[in-house]
Amino acid sequence: MAYINGIGLISPQKTVDPTEFLPEIMEYTSDYLKCIEPAYRTYIDPIQSRRMSRLIKMGIASAKISLADAGCSMPDAIITGTGLGSVEDTEKILGDLSSEERFLNPTPFIQSTYNTISSQVAIQLKCHNYNSTYVHRTFSFESGLIDGMMQIEEEMARNVLIGAIDEMTMNHLQITRRIGQWKMEPVNNLALLETKSPGALPGEGAAFFVLGTEKRSSTYAELKDVATCINLNGSFRPEVVLPEFLAKNELSPNDIDLVILGVNGDCKYDQVYTHFANQFFPGKAQAWYKHLCGEYHTATGFGLYVAANILRRPVYPVVLHLNQVVPGKLRNILIYNQFRDVNHSFMLVQGC
């Protein structure tokens, strides 16, 4: 376990200021939900940022916001999770190569490497400590959290900086629409569940968290545990895995006050969440958040931001309610996410 001591989030919502929690809900009717970016000069020297692509700037800025929020200047480890890295840079190269192969501009190639953000953050902080990057679809951020919590358990680190970063582009949207991943037309994010059509509403975001061994005035909540479960030919058995996961943390499903589900408006896969909630958490309060940030490989970063803020304040904003149940208390939150019923993950967050 570890304390969540600082958060920095750049998302399609107004989340840049960590002292606020969803002060105004942004409504969009669009192909995908795009991040509201801050003025970067507050976070990055304009001379340095001139050549940086958008995702890298979002990553560095959110990392710095989280460190300031936690009052931490030098983390003992920097870990990032990203499903796709800098799509914009990769597309530049692919575009160049598909027209005519010729001498490339090296900058997009350098920036297309998935570990660019973790190393750029290290360069900004002059941090020589442990540094790694996970790139496994919707396990990317969760793998980073598991690594970071293990660093703390191994006593290799007291403060760990962990990021969840992904971007969307029109080209990538167009390509992945071909395999049914997304809705085929612009939709209103706040009316997402009314679409009842296959495909999710895509989004993006850059979230960084400072996990620490010490509880402080900046502490949001305790991240008790994280688990990823791959479903290969039915290998994922939630009826075994979930009680085990909770029992390891001395809890049972009945102790969970709120379940935050990764419901994303895709009628094909949202039923996986419905079954899960009905099976393990009947009568419990259910929340969702992907209508606010869209779906992307590291969207659970937004989910963890939501859980941490609900527990810290404590407040349970209506926009997050997926059912009518009002939780009696707000102490234990389970975040459950799945991608195509293959990549399932759990995060257990506790108020403190």
Partner: protein, 404 residues
Amino acid sequence: MPQRIFITGFGIISCIGNNIEEHLESLLQSKPGTGRVHYVDTYLKNELLVGEVRKTLEELFTLAAIPPTDGYSRNALLGIIAAREAFVNGRMNNCRELKTGLISATTVGGMDRCENYYSDFLTNDSRNAYIDSYDCADSTEKIAGLLGISDFVTTISTACSSAANAIMLGARMIRTGRLDRVLAGGCEALTKFHLNGFNALKILDKNPCRPFDQNRAGINLGEGAAYLVLESGESLGKTGNTPLCELVGWGNACEAFHQTASSPDGTGAYLAMKKALELSGLAPEDIDYVNAHGTGTDNNDLSEGRALEKLFGNRMPLVSSTKPFTGHTTSAAGSAEAILSIMCLQHQVAWPNLNFQERIEELSFSPVEKLMTNIPVNVVMSNSFGFGGNDTSLIFKKVNADIL
């Protein structure tokens, strides 16, 4: 007491062989596998020297023992071939009740197919089966599916140190009791994408690369895949496997200097090696052989050389880079070179640093020039450094008879 980590099997494919035996043979014969570009359709064909696995996509399907299927990248096939060899050698099909993980590493992922189909992706549905093969997780999930590994699956990308970090994560997950055994390594197929990318950085040698040579002129890129089976001491008791060696140290540090260049004094390299050494409880003089990252670039070899001098002083162990044999297999290099290092423990040899002629004038040591056989090798270190200054060092030790 934390679990110890034993290596009980491995598998490898690169331009010097399709399996372990072929690698050993090429290495013992000091026979490199690099040549002109044959399989990647690039305008740099006649310009660059690379280490390609000499198999077409169809031939790789045969080697991987799966029928030709849409949606498979060269990267995934290389991964499957090496992972399966390791899986078989480590007898991972036994003791299915053990908590088993797959940690794989790649950076260009399935780009080898996707770069050719990109305009189709944008304009028509003809190549939809390959859209999913684009990302880094695709090859990992294909390997996990074929081998039935599901307790923990993830993918790491820290550029050219990726596979070393996969091994390190596997070791830590066993040490902290999360898993009993792990199949860890990496795969990378050559692509126009990174051939052009490295070419744009002007760090490719058109001739055979010369790591640690005064006149070195850059990298020969290579491709391949390599996986190791890591087991806890407790797991050994159940599988009955005989350990090939023990993984006793690992260290990861960041240069925090420049996105693609190493610092002149090799801070990251030094810190990674030092951390690995500290964890192992060994002294610098216990290291018999270092398989250096040694890419052959001006920058890396001087930086790494200085870091080695700082760590070892005037008691420099045997050092060589095996990249002139295999080419730089980027995300697979960490696990491929870990295996070549372990072979030094098994066969009591030190691999030559091919093409070496003249010592770097700023450095006080030269690498191993000719194959050394019948020498005592008890502890080896394998270095892997990547863009972003992501530096990782691993230490493997011969297993003492007392634990067997």
